[in-house]
C-alpha cells in the first residue's frame, strides 16, 4: 500500500444539497463513489488528490425510475442493480451486458454508473452502451442543473464537460420499445475481469429492409469512448441485403484512433474493431 491515508481528508455530506455546497466551497475535492476506480491508483500511490467528497451515502443519487418514455438512473446506481433490472434487461440489454462484464461480482457490488462515466476511462465497459442508446446526463451544481447528451460529455482523454463544482447526478435513457437490434461485445483477452482492448455497442432499428436508425459506439479505440458517426452515416438508410461493407469498414477506420499500449496494439484494435462491425452486421442482416 503506497497511498497515504494519513494525509487525506474526506468530506461526507448527508444529502445532495450539502454535497453541492461542499463541492462549491472545495472544488479541489475529488468525488468518491464506490471507490472501485479511484482506490486502485490511490493504493499504488499514483493519485495526487488529498481531499475527497464521499458520495456513498447520498440516497438522492440511487434508484432507477421508469416512466412511459424514459428510464432515469441515479448516478450511484450500481452495476449489480443494472444487471438485475428486468426492464433494463428487456429494453437495454447492451447496458445490462456491459454492466455484467465490468469486473466481477465484487466490483459490480460497489461500482456505479456515474462513477464509471466520471472516471473517463476510454476502456470503461458501460460508456459504449450508453452512447449507443443516446443517453443524456444530468450535471448538477449549486448553480443549477443541466442535461447534456452523453455523446458530447467526453472532450478528450480524461477530460469532460463536468465543471469542478458539478456532479453527475442522473443518467437518462429514452425508451425505444422492444424489437430493436442490440449488439454488445467486449474483447479483453481474458473471459472475465479483463480491461477492454476493444469494445463495440450498437443499437439499430430496421424497417422495410433498411437500416432506419443506427447508433454505433466503441471503447478503447480513442482517447475516450466514441460514437462512430462516420460509419453510422454510411450505413444509415441502407438496405440490409446490400450493405456497403467496404465503405463502412473504411469509415470505421477513420472514426477510430487507437494506440499501442500495455494491453494491445493499435493494429490489433483496428483489425478487431472492423471484425466486430462485420460480426454486428452479420447479426443485423442474417444471411
Amino acid at each position: 500500500m503506497r497511498g497515504q491515508p494519513s494525509l487525506c481528508e474526506v468530506l461526507t455530506p448527508l444529502n445532495l444539497a450539502e454535497a453541492l455546497a461542499l463541492l462549491a466551497a472545495h472544488p479541489e475535492a475529488r468525488p468518491l463513489a464506490g471507490g472501485t476506480d479511484l482506490m486502485v491508483p490511490f493504493a499504488a500511490g499514483r493519485l495526487p488528490d488529498r481531499l475527497f467528497l464521499n458520495l456513498w451515502d447520498l440516497e438522492e443519487l440511487r434508484g432507477i425510475v421508469v416512466t412511459d418514455g424514459e428510464v432515469t438512473l441515479g448516478a450511484l446506481t450500481l452495476f449489480r442493480e443494472i444487471a438485475a433490472h428486468p426492464l433494463l434487461q428487456r429494453e437495454f440489454p447492451n447496458l445490462v451486458r456491459s454492466a455484467m462484464v465490468t469486473g466481477a461480482l465484487a466490483i459490480q457490488s460497489r461500482g456505479s454508473l456515474g462513477g464509471n462515466i466520471a472516471n473517463g476511462s476510454p476502456a470503461a465497459d458501460t460508456p459504449p452502451s450508453l452512447l449507443a442508446y443516446g443517453a443524456e446526463l444530468e450535471l448538477t451544481s449549486l448553480r443549477g442543473s443541466r442535461w447534456v447528451p452523453y455523446a458530447d460529455f467526453h472532450t478528450g482523454y480524461k477530460r469532460s464537460l463536468l465543471a469542478p463544482d458539478e456532479l453527475i447526478t442522473r443518467i437518462r435513457l429514452s425508451r425505444m420499445g422492444e424489437g430493436g437490434f442490440h449488439y454488445f461485445r467486449k474483447v479483453g483477452t481474458r473471459q472475465a475481469q479483463a480491461i477492454a482492448k476493444v469494445s463495440l455497442a450498437a443499437w439499430a432499428r430496421v424497417a422495410d429492409g433498411r437500416i432506419q436508425d443506427l447508433r454505433l459506439a466503441l471503447g478503447s479505440v480513442a482517447p475516450m469512448p466514441i460514437r462512430a458517426k462516420g460509419t453510422e452515416r454510411i450505413l444509415q438508410g441502407q438496405a440490409i441485403r446490400n450493405l456497403p461493407l467496404d465503405a463502412a469498414l473504411a469509415a470505421l477506420q477513420a472514426d477510430i484512433s487507437p494506440i499501442d499500449d500495455l494491453r494491445s496494439s493499435a493494429a490489433f484494435r483496428r483489425k478487431v474493431a472492423g471484425n466486430l462491425l462485420v460480426d454486428m452486421l452479420r447479426g443485423l442482416a442474417p444471411t
Binding site: 500500500m1 503506497r2 497515504q4 491515508p5 494519513s6 486502485v40 499504488a44 500511490g45 466481477a104 461485445r185 474483447v187 483477452t189 481474458r190 473471459q191 472475465a192 475481469q193 479483463a194 480491461i195 482492448k197 500495455l262 494491453r263 494491445s264 496494439s265 493494429a267 490489433f268 483489425k271 478487431v272 471484425n275 466486430l276 462485420v278 460480426d279
Partner: protein
Amino acid sequence: MNDYAHIGRSVLRREGRAKLTGAALFTDDLKIEGLLHGTTVRSRVPRGRIMGIHFEEGFPWEEFIIVTAQDIPGKNVVAHLIQEQPCLADGVINHAEEPILLLAHPDPERVQDARERVRVDVEPLPPVLSIEDSLRCDPVIWGEDNIFKTILITKGDPERARAKGHLQLEATYYTGAQEHVYIEPNAIIGEATPDGVLVRGSMQCPYYVHHALHELFQLPLDKVRAAQVETGGAFGGKEDYPSMLACHAALLSWKAGGRPVKIVYDREEDMACTTKRHPSRTRIRSAFAADGTLLSLDVEFLLDGGAYMTLSPVVLSRGALHASGPYRCPDLRIHARALATNTPPHGAFRGFGAPQSLFAIERHMDEAAHRLGLDPAELRRKNLLRTGDAMATGQIMRDEVDLIALMDRALAEIRYAEKRASYPVLNAGDEPVKRGVGFSVFMHGGGFTGSGETMLHSVAALEGTADGQVRVLAASTEMGQGANTVFTQVAAEALQAPLDLIVVATPDTGVVPNSGPTVASRTTQVVGKLIQDAALAMRKTLLDAGYLQDGDVAAAIRAYVAQHGTLRTESQYQKPDFVQWDDTTYRGDAYATYAWACYAADLRIDLVTYETQVADFVTVQEVGRVLNPTLAAGQIEGGVAQGIGWGLNEEVIWRQGSMANHQMSNYLIATAVDLPRIRVFFEERPYAYGPGGAKGIGELPMDGPAPALLNAVQHALQITPRQVPMTPEVLMDLVEGA
C-alpha cells in the same frame, strides 16, 4: 487393489482446516512487537554507474534505518551457485529494479513515502536486452562472451545422418518470460544481532536462505537460522529470490540493533523485481526418413538468464536434457547456452527449462508430420522411446512404460481421430469460430539432474516424542503441493501407525536436517523415500527393543523415550545402484527416473477476436504410484492451468529491461471461466526407488500444455505458430499474414 493403509488414499490435507478458517498464519499475518517495516530503493535503468545517492532535504531521515552496500558486515553477495550477485548494488547497476538502498521505519506509510524521496543519480550505460544482442556481445556485460554456461550433448553423427533424410526441416521456436503470480507476494521477517541471525518467511528452501545469510554476515553456520512460515504458493518463484529478501531484512535489522524488520512486497514490486521463467530461443534442424523415422536432431537451445548467473546453469541443464523429447534418435547434438542480459535474473519456475525445450521439440514433431503427410500420432508411434532404448545421453530407458498406449489413451479420451477428420470440414464453413485438436507427448525427470542428488547428501529424520508422537524432520516445505500430507502418509505407512501420530515439523534450519531444496519434483520421490527409510528404521528400532509386541506404536514410542531419553532415526540419500552420470561429458543417467505423459487439447478459436478457448483438456500420465489421488490430481490441474496461461495469455511486456505490465490487471492469469474442466488420468507403475512406488509429479504438468495447444492451433487454422504466448495479437499477425 490397494494393500496399503494410507498410501494411495486421498488423505485430507493436514493443514487444511487452518487454511479454511483463516487461522493459518502467513508471514504478513504474524504479530511482532517492535516491528520495523522495510523497503527497497531500486535502479530505474537497466545498466549504469551509480554517481551519487541524494536524500531529500528537510525530511526527517534520522527516524529511518538506512542501509547501503557499505553497511554490509560480511560479503556483499547473495550466494547461489556462485558468489556474484550483490545484495545491494555498489557502484554499478546491472539490471533494472536492482536493489541499491534499504529503508526501515516503524510506520509502513512513512517508509513508502521515504522511498520516493531518495534519488539515485546513475550514468546510464548501453544495455543488452535480448538473446540476440547478448549473442552478438553488443556489448559484453558478463565474463568474456556473455555466456553463463554451455552444455553440449552429442551422440553419433547428426550431420551425416541429416544428409540421408527424406525430409530435412529447420525451424526456430520462441518462448516468453512467465511470472509466477503466487497469490501471496514475497514476505520475510529478519532479526539480526551479533549473537545470531534469524529469518522467517515465505520460502521454498530454508537452507538456501541459510547459506546466503552465512555468506552475507560471515557468521558461523550455527549462528544463522532460516525458518519457513506458511507459504502462499511458490512454483519456483520462492526458490532463490527469498535469499535476497532475507539478506535485506536481516541487514536492516542488523543496522537497527536487532529490532525485527519485515519486508512484504506489494504485487507491483513482486512482479517487477523477482525472478521469472527464462525466455528461450530453440532452433531445431532435423531429418526424417520417408516413413517418418527420426534420423537426426540438431538442437540449439538458448536461455536468457538475466543479469546474474543465479540458477541459470541448472535450468539450462534440465532444458538441454529434455530437448530431444521422448524420442529415439540415433544421431543428435544438443548445444545449449545460458546468456547474460540486463534484465532482473530469471530463475526457477515449475518445469525449470524443460517446458521451453519440450515446447520446441513437440511443435517440431507436428510440423514434421504435416510436411511428411502423416498424422502427428503416426509420426510419434514410429519414434517414441521404448523400454531398453537409449536416450540422448546414452541413458537406457528402464521405466517399463508403454508410451504409445499412454498416447492412445489420451487420444481416445479426447476423441482425436474423429475430431481430426471432422473439424476441417466444419472449419471450411463461414462460421468465425474454428476448431482444432492437438496433443503432446513428453517426460519430466524426477529429482536433481545428473549427480545433483548425490552431491546434496540429503538427510531427513524422524523423532519420537515423550507423548508418543512422531515428528518428521525435513527441510522440504509445504507450499500448497501437499508435502505435509504426503510425508505424513509415508511415515505412517512405514511405521504402521495412525496418521494422527505423525507431525511434520516446521522447516527451520535450527531444527531440521538438510533434506535439500523443495524443487525439481524431488520432494515426494527423493525426500519421501528418506522419510520412509527413517520410519522403517524407527519401526525396526522399536521392534528390536521389544516395544511393539501389541502393535501400539504410540505406546511403544512413549515407552522407548521414557527408557532411553530420545528416539531419532535418520536416513541419507543413496543413489540407486544403476545410476551413473558424468558431468563433464553429459553421458549417463540424467535422472534416476522420469514421469511420462500425453496431453491433448481441443480448441475453439474465434477469428473475430483471435481469442483461443480451451474446450477440453485431457491429461494421461505415468507417475509411479499415486500416493494421494486428490492431491496428485490437484497438482496436475494446477500445473496445466499455468501451462495454458504460458501458452496463450501470460505475456511479460519488457520496456528497458523492466516488466512494464507488473500488475494483475495487466498480466492476466486465468480465471475460473477461462479454463475447462481439466481431465486427469493416471497410469500407475510403482517405481522401485520411490516411497510406496511414487515418482516426482510437481513439474510434469507444466511441460505439456503449450505444445498441445499450438499443435491444435495448427490443426484448426493451417498456420505454423512457433512462439508462446500465442496471444490474440500474435495469432492475428499469423492469420492475417497467412
